[in-house]
C-alpha cells in the first residue's frame, strides 16, 4: 500500500513540474545564499587576519638584547614555560627578510595562520619565501622558491628561520629577537632568572583592528541570517502551495482507506528527500558562487598553498553538513504548518484546494495589527535597553513586524492609487495589482527583506568604511613608527632628527579615572594632529586648550563609562581638567585621556618617550641611516604609511565582495517573484480575458503585467528603505554598543538607495518578463475558453 501512496503522491509532481522546480530551486537558493554569505564572511576574516598579520610583529611584546640572543637562552625560556618564538631578520637587496619559526610563532603571524599541512612546504628543502610581488621581484636570485602572498607587508618577505639564516649568511644559533605570545602560562619564572640581560619591548599600541573587525563580523553574521530568512520565505511559499494543492489527493487517498498517519508520514519523508537534494544542489551552487565572487581569495590561497589551490575552498564536511542542515531545517520550518493542516483536515472537508494565501480584508487588518505590535515591541526594547540578546530580539521583531505590515500597506497604497487613477487602464492596473497582492505577498515580503538587508548592508559597510578610513588616518598618520628601546636613546633620536623629521613622542602612562582603567597620553603641539584627528564632539579651539594645558580629550568609551560630557572635569593625577573634546578610539577596551605635552610632562616628569612617530621631511633612507647610527635597526621601525595603505587595500577588497551579497539577495527575491507569478499565471486568464475582450491588445496586457510587477516592486522598495535604515541603526547603535561598548557612527548614502531602487524595479521587471511575454503570446482561442459555456 505504501508504494501505491508514494506513487499517488509522486504523480502530483509529474503533473506540476514547475511547482517541483520552485520548491527545489527555492530551497537550493536559500542554502546557496547562506553558504555564499558564509564564504564572504570567511573571506572577510581572512582579510582581517592578513591585515592583522602584517601588524602582527607590532602586536606582540618582544625580547631583545644588544648583540643578539643565544639559542641556549631561547631553549631555557621555552623549558621554563615561556611562550616565545625566535626571529632572525635582515636586509637583502633592499628587501627585509623575516625568518620565523612556524612551530612556535603565535597565531596571526606569518602569511596566514598555518595548519600542519603547510608546514612541510614552509620547512622543506631550500625553503620558500612568501611576499608580495614587488618584494619578491626585488629579492636577489637564490635557490628559495618564491611564493606570491599579497597579504605579507610591503617590502618584506617571510620565510622559515633556517632559510632566513641561510639567505642572510648568518649563524642560525644567534637569534635577533623573541616574540612573546599574548597568552602565557599563569606561573612562569621571572625573565631575569631564566635569561638575564634580555629587555622586554612592549607591543606597539594604537589601532586594535581585531576588535574593530569583530563588530563587522557580528553585523555580517546578522545579515547572513537575514539572507537565509529571505530564502525561507520562498521555500515557505512553495511548500505551502505544494501541500495545499494536494489536499484533494490526500482526501481521496484517505477515502480509499489509506491511514492519515501514513500519508502525513510519507509526505514528510518526501519533503526530507527533496530538502536533502536541494541542500546538496544549494551547496554546490554556493560553492560555485564563492569561487566566482572571491577570485582574490583563490589567488591568495594559490600563492600560499602552492599546488593545493582548492585548499580552503575544498568541501569541508562541517560546511557541507551545515548547509544540508540549513536546507532540511528550513524545509521543516516551512513544512511543519502545512503538514499540520493536512493532518488536521477533516475527511469530509471540501477537497477543493483553498485559494492560495487568500487573505481577505480581515486577514489584512489582523496582519497590520500584528505588524504594528511587533514594531512597537522592537521600539520598546530599544527604549528600555538591555544586552546583546535584547538587541537581537528587537532586530527580529523589527524585521518580522516590517514584513507583516507590508501587504496591508501595499493594499492601502494600491486602493488609493485606484481611486485617484486617471483613465480606465490605469484604474484597472491599480485595482488588478491589489487583487494580485495575496498571491504575491510572500514573494514581496522576501523582496522587502532582501532590500532592507541591502540598505542595511550598504549603510553598515559604508559607515564602517568611512569610520575605519578616518580612524586609520587619525591613528596612522606618521610615516614611520620607531621604538628606540629606552628613554636615553629616545632623547638622542629627537636630537639627531631635528630638522629632518617631525618627531611625535609617545608619552604614555596607565591609570584609572572614576574606576575605569585608562591610558593617559600626550600629544605634541604640531599641525599634523589637528589636521588628522576628528572628534565626535568638541568645544571651541580644542587644540589650543590642549596645548596650553587648559583641557583634556577623552575617548568615547571613557566618556560613556565615566559619564563624562564636554566641559565636565576629568579627574587626573595632578589635578582635574575640563573635557574639551571627545574622540573616537574604536576597539580599545581601555579608556583614553589625551593631554598637551607640557601638561603631561609636568604631571608625569618621570615618564620619558621610548617610541616615536616620525613625519619625514628628509628621504626615508637618510632617516633610516641616522637611526641605524643610533643603534636602532629595521626591526624597531614600522613603515606606517605603507601599512595603512596596505590595510586599506585589504579592507577595500572585503567591502567590494559584500556588494556581491546585495545583488545576490535581490536576485533570489526576484526569483521568488518569478515563481509566484508563474504559479499565479494559470489563475490569471479569467482576470485578463474580459479586459482583452473589451478592447485591449494582448501586447498591452503583457506590458501591464510588467508595469504592475514593477509597481509592486517599487512600492516594496520604498517601504524597504526606512526598514533597512532602522535595521542598520539597530546594528550600529544598539547591537554594537551592547556588544562592544562603542557606537559606529551611521552615515547615509542616498546614491546607494537610488541604485537599489533601480535594481528592485529591474528585479520586478525581469521576474515578470517571462510571464508577461507568455501572456502577450496567449492564443486568442485560449482566452476565449474563459467565456465558453463549460469551463
Amino acid at each position: 500500500m505504501r508504494r501505491q501512496i508514494a506513487r499517488a503522491l509522486w504523480s502530483h509532481w509529474r503533473r506540476a513540474p514547475l511547482l517541483l522546480f520552485t520548491l527545489v530551486a527555492g530551497l537550493a537558493l536559500a542554502t546557496a545564499l547562506w553558504s555564499g554569505v558564509q564564504a564572504i564572511n570567511a573571506e572577510a576574516r581572512a582579510s582581517y587576519d592578513a591585515a592583522a598579520a602584517t601588524l602582527g610583529e607590532g602586536r606582540f611584546d618582544q625580547l631583545v638584547r644588544e648583540g643578539g640572543i643565544a639559542r641556549a637562552d631561547y631553549v631555557a625560556l621555552r623549558r621554563a614555560g615561556w611562550q616565545v618564538s625566535p626571529v632572525i631578520e635582515g636586509r637583502l637587496g633592499g628587501v627585509r627578510i623575516v625568518g620565523l619559526d612556524p612551530l612556535t610563532a603565535p597565531g596571526g603571524i606569518g602569511p596566514v595562520a598555518m595548519d600542519e599541512s603547510d608546514l612541510a612546504a614552509f620547512l622543506s628543502g631550500d625553503g620558500a619565501v612568501y611576499g608580495a610581488q614587488a618584494a619578491l621581484d626585488a629579492l636577489p636570485p637564490g635557490p628559495a622558491e618564491r611564493v606570491l602572498a599579497p597579504d605579507v607587508a610591503p617590502g618584506t618577505v617571510l620565510t622559515d628561520i633556517a632559510v632566513a639564516a641561510g639567505l642572510l649568511g648568518r649563524d642560525p644559533a644567534v637569534i635577533d629577537r623573541l616574540i612573546v605570545a599574548e597568552v602565557q602560562p599563569r606561573i612562569v619564572p621571572p625573565l631575569d632568572e631564566v635569561a638575564p640581560g634580555l629587555t622586554r619591548r612592549t607591543a606597539q599600541g594604537g589601532a586594535d583592528i581585531g576588535r574593530l573587525t569583530d563588530s563587522f563580523h557580528l553585523n555580517l553574521t546578522a545579515f547572513g541570517l537575514l539572507a537565509f530568512a529571505v530564502g525561507i520565505f520562498i521555500v515557505h511559499g512553495a511548500i505551502g502551495l505544494a501541500f495545499e494543492e494536494r489536499r484533494p489527493l490526500v482526501r481521496t487517498l484517505r477515502a480509499l482507506g489509506a491511514p492519515l498517519s501514513t500519508v502525513v508520514w510519507m509526505m514528510g519523508l518526501e519533503l526530507l528527500a527533496l530538502a536533502l537534494i536541494a541542500g546538496a544542489l544549494g551547496l554546490a551552487l554556493g560553492f560555485a558562487l564563492a569561487g566566482a565572487l572571491l577570485p582574490d581569495v583563490a589567488a591568495t590561497l594559490r600563492g600560499l598553498y602552492g599546488a593545493e589551490v582548492a585548499g580552503s575552498l575544498s568541501l569541508r564536511p562541517g560546511w557541507a553538513l551545515a548547509a544540508l542542515g540549513i536546507s532540511v531545517g528550513g524545509a521543516a520550518l516551512a513544512g511543519a504548518s502545512a503538514l499540520w493542516r493536512i493532518a488536521r483536515m477533516p475527511l469530509l472537508a471540501a477537497g477543493r484546494p483553498r485559494a492560495w494565501a487568500r487573505g481577505g480584508a480581515r486577514g489584512l487588518a489582523l496582519q497590520a495589527v500584528a505588524g504594528a505590535l511587533l514594531l512597537a515591541v522592537a521600539g520598546g526594547i530599544v527604549l528600555v535597553g538591555g544586552g546583546l540578546g535584547a538587541g537581537f530580539a528587537a532586530l527580529g521583531a523589527l524585521l518580522v513586524g516590517g514584513a507583516l505590515l507590508l501587504p496591508p500597506l501595499l493594499d492601502r497604497a494600491l486602493a488609493l492609487g485606484a481611486r485617484t487613477a486617471r483613465g480606465p487602464v490605469a484604474g484597472w492596473l491599480w485595482a488588478d495589482g491589489r487583487q494580485q497582492l495575496p498571491g504575491l505577498s510572500l514573494a514581496l515580503m522576501a523582496l522587502l527583506l532582501a532590500m532592507a538587508a541591502n540598505v542595511g548592508v550598504s549603510t553598515m559597510v559604508g559607515s564602517f568604511r568611512s569610520t575605519f578610513t578616518a580612524f586609520l588616518d587619525q591613528r596612522l598618520f606618521a610615516d614611520l613608527y620607531v621604538d628606540a628601546g629606552d628613554g636615553d636613546r629616545g632623547a638622542a633620536l629627537e636630537a639627531a632628527l631635528a630638522g629632518r623629521a617631525t618627531v611625535l613622542p609617545v608619552l604614555i602612562v596607565t591609570g584609572e579615572v572614576s574606576g575605569v582603567p585608562v591610558e593617559i597620553q600626550a600629544a605634541r603641539d604640531v599641525p599634523a594632529f589637528a589636521a588628522n584627528w576628528r572628534f565626535l564632539s568638541a568645544g571651541p579651539d580644542p587644540w589650543g586648550a590642549l596645548a596650553s594645558g587648559r583641557g583634556a580629550f577623552v575617548s568615547e568609551q571613557l566618556a560613556r563609562r565615566a559619564g563624562l560630557s564636554l566641559g565636565e572635569a576629568v579627574d587626573l593625577p595632578g589635578g582635574a581638567l575640563p573635557v574639551v573634546a571627545i574622540h573616537a578610539d574604536y576597539g580599545n577596551p581601555a579608556g583614553q585621556v589625551i593631554l598637551g605635552e607640557a601638561a603631561f610632562r609636568a604631571r608625569f616628569p618621570e615618564v620619558s618617550a621610548e617610541r616615536f612617530g616620525l613625519l619625514l621631511d628628509a628621504p626615508e633612507a637618510e632617516i633610516r641611516a641616522a637611526l641605524a647610527d643610533l643603534g636602532i635597526d629595521d626591526s624597531a621601525i614600522t613603515d606606517q604609511a605603507a601599512l595603512k595603505a596596505f590595510s586599506l587595500g585589504v579592507f577595500e577588497r572585503t567591502f567590494s565582495v559584500t556588494g556581491a551579497l546585495n545583488v545576490l539577495t535581490l536576485a533570489v527575491a526576484g526569483f521568488a517573484m518569478l515563481m509566484s507569478l508563474l504559479t499565479l499565471a494559470a489563475m490569471r486568464l479569467p482576470q485578463v480575458a474580459p479586459v482583452w475582450a473589451s478592447g485591449l491588445t494582448r501586447v498591452q496586457l503583457g506590458r501591464m503585467e510588467l508595469a504592475r510587477t514593477a509597481l509592486l516592486a517599487g512600492f516594496t522598495a520604498l517601504a524597504a528603505l526606512p526598514l533597512g535604515l532602522a535595521l542598520a541603526w539597530m546594528l550600529l547603535a544598539v547591537v554594537n554598543v551592547a556588544a562592544f561598548g562603542w557606537r559606529l557612527p551611521m552615515m547615509l548614502f542616498p546614491g546607494d538607495w537610488a541604485r537599489l531602487f533601480a535594481l528592485a524595479l529591474l528585479a520586478g521587471a525581469l521576474a515578470s518578463a517571462w510571464p508577461a511575454w507568455r501572456l502577450a503570446r496567449t492564443p486568442p482561442a485560449q482566452l476565449l475558453k474563459v467565456f465558453a459555456n463549460e469551463r
Binding site: A693, Q700, P780, F787
Partner: protein, 218 residues
C-alpha cells in the same frame, strides 16, 4: 450595410487534421436590425461571433464591419474595433474581477473615449443595478452579472451588439426580463443586435432570425 460577411470559413485542429466548423457563412446586417442566431450545440455560433468581434482570425472569407475589413486589421486594429464599434456579451465570466460594478460598467466606454457618468447611472437604474454599484463581481448573482455585462457593452455605444446566449444560465423569467431591457436599450441607441439563443420565445421578439447548420447560415 453595417455588417457584411461573405464566405467565412474556420476550422479547428482535430485528431485527424483540421475539423471545419464554418464552411462559407454569408450574412448581412443593417444598422438598427435585431437578429436571432440559432443552431445546434457545436454548430459554430460562438465561433462566428468571435470572428465578427475580431477576437479570433478566420481561415478565409471576408467580414466588412462598419466599412472596414476585419481580416485586414492587426491586433491593435481589432482592439480598437472591440472598444468602439462592436460590443460582445458572453454567456458568463464577462466581468473584470478586480473592478467593482460601477468600474465594470464604465470600463469599455472609457476605453472608447465615450465616458458619460450620467449614462452609466441611467443604465444601472434601468437594469436594476443602482444598489450594486460598489459590489465586486464575485458578490453578484449570475443574473446580476449578466446585467452588468449588458450595461457595460451598451455604455460604450457600439454600432453592433453581439450576445452569446446571454441568458443561458438564467431562469426563464429573469432571462426574459434581461432580454427585454437589452432589446429596448439597443433600440434606443440605434445599434444592431445579434443574439445567439436556443429560446424560441426570445427569438420571436427579434426582427429577423437566422439558423446555422452544417457550417452555413440559412
Amino acid at each position: 450595410m453595417l455588417l457584411d460577411v461573405k464566405g467565412l470559413r474556420k476550422s479547428y485542429p482535430g485528431g485527424d487534421g483540421p475539423v471545419p466548423v464554418l464552411r462559407g457563412v454569408d450574412l448581412s446586417v443593417r444598422g438598427g436590425e435585431t437578429l436571432a442566431l440559432t443552431g445546434e450545440s457545436g454548430s459554430g455560433k460562438s465561433t462566428f461571433l468571435h470572428l465578427v468581434a475580431g477576437l479570433d482570425r478566420a481561415d478565409a472569407g471576408s467580414i466588412w464591419l462598419d466599412g472596414e475589413e476585419v481580416a485586414d486589421l492587426d491586433d491593435r486594429g481589432r482592439a480598437r474595433l472591440r472598444r468602439g464599434t462592436v460590443g460582445i456579451v458572453f454567456q458568463q465570466f464577462n466581468l473584470i474581477p478586480s473592478l467593482d460594478v460601477a468600474g465594470n460598467i464604465a470600463f469599455q466606454a472609457r476605453l472608447a473615449g465615450r465616458d458619460d457618468p450620467g449614462r452609466v447611472a441611467d443604465l444601472a437604474a434601468r437594469l436594476g443595478l443602482e444598489d450594486q454599484m460598489a459590489k465586486y463581481p464575485e458578490d453578484l448573482s449570475g443574473g446580476q452579472q449578466q446585467r452588468v455585462a449588458i450595461a457595460r457593452v451598451l455604455a460604450a455605444r457600439p454600432k453592433l451588439v453581439l450576445a452569446d446566449e446571454p441568458t443561458g444560465n438564467l431562469d426563464e423569467a429573469t432571462a426574459e426580463r434581461v432580454m427585454e431591457v437589452m432589446t429596448a436599450l439597443v433600440a434606443e441607441t440605434g445599434a444592431a443586435l445579434l443574439v445567439v439563443t436556443h429560446s424560441e420565445r426570445l427569438a420571436a421578439g427579434l426582427s429577423r432570425r437566422v439558423h446555422l447548420a452544417r457550417g452555413v447560415v440559412s
